[in-house]
């Protein structure tokens, strides 16, 4: 069956550092992959979509890579800030990973 795994349940980093979150999948040949941010008590907010023919995509301090051979996507936040603290979810087709809770400490 199709499976999406986000390896870390939680990630704690210091302000100013780069946060790297991982999303692995199995039994998929996705045309694209997405990343969402979810704050407590709110719905997910779309951040980035990367297609299978794109290796990397950037948006301000965010960078996503997509390796269809490794079946993995990496999500980076550079110069992280406390305001970046949230749960980050990757999604393939209609399925979501379990999310990684990022805590950025001042």
């Amino acid at each position: 069956s199709q499976k999406i795994e986000q390896n870390s349940e939680a990630l704690n980093i210091q302000e100013g550092k780069t946060a790297t979150l991982t999303c692995n999948y199995t039994n998929y040949s996705p045309a694209y992959l997405q990343w969402y941010r979810q704050d407590p008590g709110r719905g997910p907010v779309f951040l980035l979509l990367i297609r299978e023919n794109e290796k990397e995509k950037r948006k301000e301090r965010l960078k996503v890579t997509f390796d269809t051979t490794l079946k993995q996507s990496l999500f980076h936040i550079t110069a992280s800030q406390p305001a970046d603290s949230a749960t980050y979810l990757c999604a393939l087709r209609l399925l979501f990973g379990s999310g990684t809770k990022l805590n950025v400490k001042p």
Partner: protein
């Protein structure tokens, strides 16, 4: 203007009752979804509608029935509520065309359903 709005935001009800959650999107999208987020925060697809037609129906009990009167609305009706139905339900929409997938989806703020 809220892009995807759900009502109510909170719903507390007794076991056995029937309840509805309404969802409206003003983005002109052709596809709408219902997701369930359980206590472990795992988001699970329930239904997907494209142009008012049901295209995805995951293994959801028959007690759950979605209804889409038009492209901008997707309501969720739940019969004979059970304790296990307690969760946060999210409505979402995207412009999908004929593809299957979430795309750049916009989510509502969620409806927290508590069955007592």
């Amino acid at each position: 203007d809220t892009a995807v709005s759900q009502t109510p935001k909170y719903l507390v009800t007794q076991m056995g009752n029937d309840k509805s959650i309404k969802c409206e999107q003003n983005l002109g999208h052709d596809t709408m979804y219902w997701y369930k987020q359980d206590s472990k925060k795992f988001l699970k697809i329930m239904f997907s509608y494209n142009n008012k037609e049901l295209i995805i129906n995951e293994t959801v009990p028959n007690r759950f029935s979605p209804k889409s009167p038009d492209k901008a609305h997707l309501n969720l009706h739940i019969n004979s509520l059970e304790l296990g139905d307690s969760a946060v339900y999210f409505c979402a929409s995207s412009q999908q065309g004929t593809g299957v997938g979430l795309g750049e989806a916009f989510f509502g703020q969620g409806t927290r359903l508590t069955v007592v």
